[in-house]
């Protein structure tokens, strides 16, 4: 129970750290680490503006998404429970996409369609890397491959640069942001928090389960920042090759873990 | 008025004859069975033609003497068929079959238009040529039998081939079936029901008679393999034609060829089960096919065309006939509740039990192909909206009676086989097997 509260509180710090790191690497001062906390606080105080076309789904989605992502925290302990975690994330995504469509604007629709497109191809990669983890072999190569596959999948899931740009509001490029476009005030805050928690969960899985010591968390965060800096956002239909690459890595990790098990 | 009276008289006559049949001492099971089949279909046809001919006469299509001639021909036709089945001398049987051809020629050419006369001419010429071959066979057969003590197997084989080709023409087996679609599509509807329902069976009866004799000398496999060959070939030809058929009555004619092929296949297999199935199929097919020809007759009378493309929404314009045809079609293609499904399955089961898998799978393949063809064609005409220029008229009661009478047989035999009918079949089978 304590771990749950800690993660919720600690999550914005991680994303603040990553944005700060990105700016420093570009030799700019950038906002402080606690900037996400300030944003959340501001949103919580603001009033909400809701489009008239939306239905009750639009109002309930923020709570559902946050609940699903938050409850996923309880399932990051053993590789076995990762399957439920993936399903919980698909629950969150399902409602977020619906909310995107509900606002009757083409941006929301575009974001939802792209989100569904990317995530449905990512799922097999996630499951394969979970399978590799689950085979729980001792061979280093298998867990390394599984880690990279999971890392690539994490980038796609948490809408990081190579797949989707978090900060932009340019309608042609944004995927995750497009669905949150219509939200404001308190619901936007919850959704932002949910996204940050999801990101932290992924980092914890990679650090905790594969290399089983949490100290590696900041190292992976740095890695994320580095990737964000070095790569540019891919065209949407090139993302399939990106996913295919991650998929091949996952398959290799499974093969290696099987071979590892036999040798 | 006279015509209707004549119609009812013929119906009543046949109604009386059927029970009388059972008191005929001299008939053996096979003849009794075929006579029963003939009379059942005759009764239905008489019932149906009563209304059909009266309507034709009122609409001025045929003159008064022609209508009277119809009834004369109708009765002569049935009498000659009964003679074929009843008589025990092979020569006289041949003459009776020849007589049936000659009489039914007029029924085929009844409407005296180009198509009818052409069909009638082809019918007589081809059937006479075929029958003459059968005569040669009969003569060779009689020589082989009454000749020297030791029977020459080779001669009997030749004789049986002549018989099979001869009577096969009359029965509509594959290569010699060419007259059948023309004759059945041009004939008067009740006549074409009789033609395909019963006439083909009489020549099957003749073939059975001869195969009993031949089997007693040479054993069943010679005739069996020949019959199976012809059966499968008829199935193949019928399947081919049914798929691309445009004319409703021709399609029914080809389906008769298919069912005759099935019966020949059943007989050819030779096991008691398959012969039982074949004989059972004789009755089922007779009932189902005449039902469908009556239905087709009503459709053609209403739509004035045989072409599938022009007939639409039969269920809307002719509600009663439409449902009857729908049920008849489902029976014809062999769907469970109806009796044809059981007879086809009995024959298939016999084929599988006998171990001839190739024959069984070919047989099943052709049945499915024909199933697809018939369902495709008839669903085009049965369903769909009512064409606007047709008005829905109330259909006469007596023709409805004919439909229900036949339908009763198909459904009844499907569900429960009455005792005496079953015993009749079993004794006929034992007769054929020469037990």
């Amino acid at each position: 129970m304590l771990r749950f509260i800690l993660i919720i509180l600690f999550a914005p710090l991680v994303s603040g750290f990553i944005t700060r790191l990105k700016n420093n690497l570009r030799l700019r001062r950038g906002p402080s680490i606690f900037q996400p906390y300030y944003n959340l606080a501001k949103y919580f105080r603001k009033d909400e503006v809701v489009s008239q076309e939306t239905s009750w789904i639009f109002r309930i989605t923020p709570y559902l998404v946050f609940t699903a992502t938050a409850s996923a925290v309880f399932f990051t302990t053993s590789p076995g429970s990762l399957i439920t975690l993936i399903f919980l994330f698909s629950f969150a995504r399902f409602f977020l996409v619906l909310a995107g469509l509900d606002a009757a604007s083409s941006f929301g629709g575009m974001g939802s369609s792209r989100e569904m497109f990317i995530s449905s191809f990512i799922e097999p990669v996630l499951f394969l890397s979970v399978a590799a983890l689950w085979l729980s072999t001792n061979s280093m190569i298998a867990s390394a491959l599984a880690a990279t596959a999971l890392f690539l999948a994490a980038l796609a899931e948490t809408s990081r640069i190579p797949v989707d740009n978090q900060e932009t509001h340019l309608e042609l490029t944004m995927v995750h942001e497009a669905m949150l476009l219509e939200y404001s005030g308190r619901s936007l805050a919850i959704l932002e928090l949910a996204a940050q928690v999801k990101q932290l969960i992924f980092l914890m899985i990679i650090a905790g389960l594969i290399f089983n010591n949490l100290a590696l968390l900041p190292v992976i965060a740095v890695l994320v920042a580095l990737v964000e800096l070095s790569l540019a956002k891919m065209r949407l239909f090139r993302v399939v090759d990106y996913i295919a690459f991650a998929g091949v890595l996952a398959v290799f990790s499974v093969v290696m873990s099987i071979v590892g098990a036999i040798i | 008025m006279l015509i209707r009276a004549l119609g009812w008289i013929t119906t009543i006559i046949y109604l009386i004859i059927i029970p009388l049949l059972f008191f005929f001492g001299s008939l053996d099971a096979l003849s009794l069975y075929f006579a029963l089949v003939i009379l059942v279909v005759a009764l239905a046809a008489a019932l149906y033609s009563n209304e059909y001919i009266a309507a034709d006469f009122e609409s001025g299509l045929i003159s008064k003497p022609k209508a009277l001639a119809y009834y004369l021909l109708f009765n002569l036709f049935i009498v000659s068929m009964l003679v074929v089945v009843v008589v025990d001398n092979l020569g006289v049987m041949w003459a009776a079959i020849e007589m049936t051809t000659l009489i039914s020629a007029f029924l085929v050419g009844f409407y005296n238009n180009k198509g009818a006369v052409e069909a009638a001419w082809k019918y007589i010429i081809i059937c006479s040529a075929g029958i003459i071959l059968a005569l040669i066979g009969t003569i060779l057969f009689s020589y082989a039998l009454l000749g020297t003590a030791q029977v020459d197997a080779n001669l009997i084989k030749v004789a049986f081939i002549f018989i099979l080709v001869g009577y096969g023409t009359k029965a509509g087996l594959a290569p010699m079936h060419t007259w059948l679609p023309d004759a059945h599509s041009q004939a008067v509807s009740p006549a074409s029901a009789l033609l395909s329902g019963v006439l083909l069976k009489t020549s099957i009866y003749a073939i059975i008679r001869y195969s009993i004799l031949v089997n007693s000398f040479l054993g069943p496999d010679f005739t069996g393999r020949l019959l199976m060959l012809f059966g499968l070939f008829s199935l193949a030809v019928a399947a081919g034609f049914i798929l691309v058929q445009k004319d409703i009555k021709r399609l029914l004619a080809y389906s008769s060829i298919e069912h005759i092929g099935i019966i020949a296949l059943g007989l050819g297999l030779g096991t008691p089960l398959s012969i039982y199935g074949a004989l059972f199929h004789v009755f089922n097919h007779a009932a189902a096919k005449s039902l469908l020809f009556f239905g087709a007759g009503n459709i053609v009378k209403k739509y004035h065309t045989h072409d599938f493309a022009k007939i639409k929404g039969v269920l809307r314009t002719l509600p009663f006939t439409g449902t009857m045809i729908l049920v008849g079609i489902l029976a014809l293609v062999g769907l469970p509740p109806f009796s044809i499904f059981f007879s086809e399955m009995i024959i298939l089961l016999a084929a599988v039990l006998k171990g001839s898998y190739v024959v069984a799978s070919l047989y099943l393949f052709f049945i499915v192909l024909i199933f697809a063809g018939i369902i495709y064609h008839f669903s085009q005409i049965l369903f769909g909206p009512k064409p606007d220029n047709l008005i829905v008229t109330k259909e006469p009661a007596s023709s409805k009676l004919a439909f229900l009478f036949l339908l009763g047989f198909i459904c009844l035999l499907g569900v429960a086989m009455p005792g005496p009918f079953n015993r009749l079949l079993l004794s006929a089978v034992s007769l054929i097997r020469g037990m």
């Binding site: 009033d47 239905s55 | 084989k157 499904f341």
Partner: protein, 605 residues
């Protein structure tokens, strides 16, 4: 009387049939109200009752021949139900394709049954079961292939599935709910009864073949469902996909039984059975929802719907629950059965010895995951485009809530999805017993759920749907209360959606179903072979008056497998046609040539 056999397998299916036909019947009361004349309604109701009865008989009868008759009767009755509105040529064509395909499938069954009769000498299930034990291997393989094709046609396994997207949408909705929910399952019953129960698994490749077919069926079904516009065809394709998932479970258990892993085999089969009943429930719910939408708006094309959540709140809610269940979202039943199937496959990966088999099971698990993802996308599209945002057509705007009986039927099934989701542990115990009975392994020893609420089938993987639901509710409650208490009720102002500030948003600005599935169409173009044409109608060089965009995809199986086959048979028919040239002379020569040939080859007969 020796006609019926009520063993656990049959009882399970009878319960399933009754469970779905009860709400379907209530639904039909409302659905048929204004639809046709009174007489026709009674006729349809009677036909439906007969249809349900024939299904019950199919699953409970004991004689093979009677099974065959009931099987054909079931197809015949559903044929009539498909043709309930006779006027549209489309439903007539659908009926014909359906009847012909099922009959062709049944032909294989007939061959298999008669072969069984030849070998065992009796039609009774149990007698055959004993007698089949001693059968040589290759006859068993032969029987298996025939049974698989026969039942596969009815279940809708991929190469034989083309009748399903035609037949199910043509039938009235409560009938297609029954057909999709239950009739396809009788084919699975057939497979279980004849292959598992009577024939016994004879070789490893059986399981492998079923798994392979299942993977293909899953993916093809979901891909076609994804790009479909007509809501009922979409549901029909998704039935194909779910049959694939069920067969994944069945195939895996076939494989594991032969590979000597009884616990996993029972797990896999009970996961398949679980998904079977789940699919019956939520597919029935979705079809009833689609039926209500069709009754209210008169159209089935999602492109023309929209905003139904406001005009038809209850139908939209139940449709949402159905969509959530089918996309395997956690608390509901779809999630539990998909989770179980995944765990069974992963268990297989762990349990199996040879590396290649492990990889094959992993590949199947990945395929299942991909299907799950695509199914979620498909049903998000279906629900989102149909029910949310602004109505795209006049009919959608004028839609009114349907008769209460229709919603009662849908509501009953919605409650069922939740109940089956939460009560997973007890349901699974029951199914494990049934699976044990079918595969012949005694499942009593296997303990799948230590606690009262948790399922722990294999190793350290465990799931407790009840705790999960509780967790979700608690967190939701806490967050809601926390926010409202601490920050007070937030002031909400409703304004039109942001329209970049210069003109009012209309329904045409919304995202369409075609647009939503465009990424998938492009990525999967190797399979869908999309055709695309766009045309600008210009007023002048600079101003475009209107823009025409047309796209469709090719049905690969129809185009390249069935169309050539049908054309070939018809050409063959045409070839045979010129036997009948018309001239008497040719006909006469046929007779004499036949005679001549026979005389020459007389020796061989």
């Amino acid at each position: 009387m020796g006609w019926f056999l009520f063993d656990p397998l049959s009882l399970f299916f009878i319960v399933l049939i009754l469970l779905i036909s009860f709400p379907a019947f209530i639904y039909s009361l409302g659905y048929l109200k204004g639809h046709h004349t009174r007489f026709k309604n009674i006729l349809t109701q009677l036909a439906m009752a007969a249809f349900v009865l024939s299904m019950i008989l199919v699953v409970s009868v004991r004689q093979v021949f009677v099974f065959l008759i009931m099987w054909e009767l079931m197809s015949l009755l559903s044929y009539f139900l498909i043709l309930s509105d006779k006027d549209s040529p489309k439903s007539v064509e659908a009926g014909t394709i359906y009847l012909v395909m099922t009959h062709a499938g049944t032909a294989f069954l007939i061959m298999a049954f008669f072969l069984m009769y030849k070998v065992t000498g009796s039609f009774d299930f149990l007698v055959i079961k004993q007698a089949l034990a001693g059968l040589p291997g290759h006859t068993k393989d032969m029987l298996f292939i025939l049974l698989l094709i026969g039942f596969g046609t009815k279940a809708g396994i991929v190469p034989l599935h083309i009748w399903l997207p035609y037949a199910h949408p043509a039938a009235p909705s409560h009938i297609s709910c029954l057909m999709s929910g239950v009739m396809i399952k009788t084919a699975i019953y057939g497979l279980l009864r004849f292959v598992f129960f009577m024939l016994g698994i004879n070789a490893l490749w059986w399981g492998g073949l079923v798994l392979g077919l299942a993977v293909v069926t899953c993916l093809v079904g979901v891909i076609y469902a994804l790009i479909e516009q007509d809501i009922k065809t979409l549901l029909a394709y998704s039935s194909v996909e779910n049959i694939g998932i069920i067969l994944l479970g069945v195939g895996a258990s076939m494989f594991l039984v032969k590979a000597g892993l009884p616990v996993l085999a029972v797990l896999a089969l009970s996961a398949a059975l679980y998904h079977l009943i789940n699919h019956a429930v939520f597919k029935g719910l979705l079809f009833l929802g689609a039926g209500s939408i069709y009754r209210a708006t008169g159209t089935r094309n999602i492109e023309k719907l929209g905003g139904l959540i406001k005009t038809m709140p209850w139908t939209a809610l139940f449709f949402l629950i159905g969509a959530m269940a089918i996309s395997a979202l956690p608390p509901l039943n779809g999630f539990v059965s998909e989770w179980l199937t995944l765990v069974a496959l992963f268990g297989g990966v762990l349990g199996l010895s040879s590396g290649f088999l492990k990889l094959f099971f992993c590949f199947c698990a990945a395929a299942l995951a991909l299907t799950g993802g695509l199914a979620a996308a498909c049903f998000v599209k279906a629900f989102g485009i149909a029910c949310l945002a602004k109505p795209r057509s006049q009919q959608a705007a004028a839609a009114k809530e349907v008769h209460w009986t229709m919603n009662f039927g849908a509501g009953f099934l919605a409650l069922l999805t939740i109940a089956l989701g939460l009560g997973a542990v007890w349901v699974f115990k029951l199914l494990a017993k049934i699976a044990g009975y079918t595969t012949g392994l005694d499942a009593s020893a296997m303990n799948f759920s230590p606690g009262l609420f948790t399922l722990q089938p294999v190793g350290n993987i465990s799931l407790s749907p009840v705790w999960l639901a509780l967790l979700l509710l608690v967190i939701m409650g806490v967050v809601f209360i926390l926010l409202n208490l601490v920050l007070g009720r937030s002031k909400v102002t409703t304004v039109p959606t942001w329209d970049c500030g210069y003109y009012k948003l209309t329904a045409r600005n919304e995202y369409t179903a075609t647009g939503f599935s465009k990424p998938f169409r492009l990525v999967l173009s190797f399979f869908l072979l999309p055709y695309q044409r766009s045309e600008k109608i210009k007023e002048s060089f600079y101003h475009v008056k209107s823009f025409v965009y047309e796209t469709n995809t090719k049905q690969v199986f129809n185009e390249y497998l069935y169309a050539p086959l049908v054309n070939f048979t018809f050409n063959l028919g045409r070839l045979a046609k010129n036997i009948q040239q018309g001239s008497v002379h040719i006909y006469l020569s046929y007779i004499f040539v036949a005679l001549f040939l026979l005389l020459i080859f007389m020796g061989r007969f």
